[in-house]
Symmetry: C2
Subunit: 165 residues, 2 copies
């Protein structure tokens, strides 16, 4: 007997597991990034985002509850690649004035991954009638967008000027 | 003698090599994605983006010229992870009504990676005084944002409704 055909519900569930793992990996990576950088403003932005990320995981726990599945992640190759790239920059630019600019750019790539994923999940939650999940996902999406905007502001105002000095 | 400290110019160059490889990988992946999907509208969006991606590579060639370096890529772990994730969805949802929604979401994750990278490169090109590079990078950024917006529109209007039917 062939396996039951996969549905949008399955896709939603798979993508939820994917972003759950991504958030967990980010929670581990952010303190290392905060420790590595020289700019106090950038460090504080990373530290603030650690707290936010804990909130994102709690909201994802609730979304798993809404769809009646256990909260668990699965290997997310995209976030592994993004984090590996960030680690490479931290190593290669360790004693460089451009370190902060590099770490910041890696963080923005991660934010954009999350912005894309949460946007997708919101569209699907609407399609699937998981209306209780929508505001939870939307609140996190808003925080990811705000973090990205804060990082752009820091990049334009200080970090890059230091790096080019 | 210690190696010369790396500069923002080096970081710009490294990131240029990274996105150059990403664009090349995308150029290979897009026709496979176009072939896999069921929606004509989505297929046409992917096919249009193949042409645009060729233009992005030509613009990057010019940016390499501006900084006086040979146009070449380097391994980009982020794009490898993003493409691997997309391939996994194509395999797991091969005969599913949700296939298009999944492939589309993977394409949007790739677009967001590029949006982040081009945004970063523009900020750095400005800092470094590579003013001729800025409009080239900005034109590509605009096309990536438009592609992402088109994909969102297709997702909301047709693909997800098919998948949830």
């Amino acid at each position: 007997m062939p396996a039951k055909e996969k549905s949008l519900e399955d896709l939603f569930h798979e993508t939820l597991k994917d972003i759950y793992m991504a958030e967990k990996r980010i929670l581990t990576a952010l303190p290392k990034m905060a420790k590595a950088v020289n700019s106090d403003e950038l460090r504080q932005a990373f530290e603030k985002h650690v707290d936010e990320t804990e909130g994102h995981l709690e909201r994802l726990d609730k979304v798993f509850e809404i769809i009646g599945k256990p909260a668990k992640g699965k290997k997310c190759e995209a976030i592994e690649g993004l984090i590996a790239e960030g680690q490479e920059i931290m190593k290669d630019f360790k004693n460089s004035d451009a370190l902060d600019a590099g770490v910041l750019s890696g963080a923005q790539a991660v934010e954009h991954y999350e912005i894309s994923r949460y946007g997708t999940l919101i569209t699907w939650a609407n399609e699937l009638g998981h209306s209780d999940a929508v505001p939870l996902l939307a609140q996190t999406l808003e925080e990811e967008k705000n973090t990205d905007a804060t990082l752009t502001q820091i990049a334009e105002s200080t970090v890059n000027q230091q790096a080019a000095a």
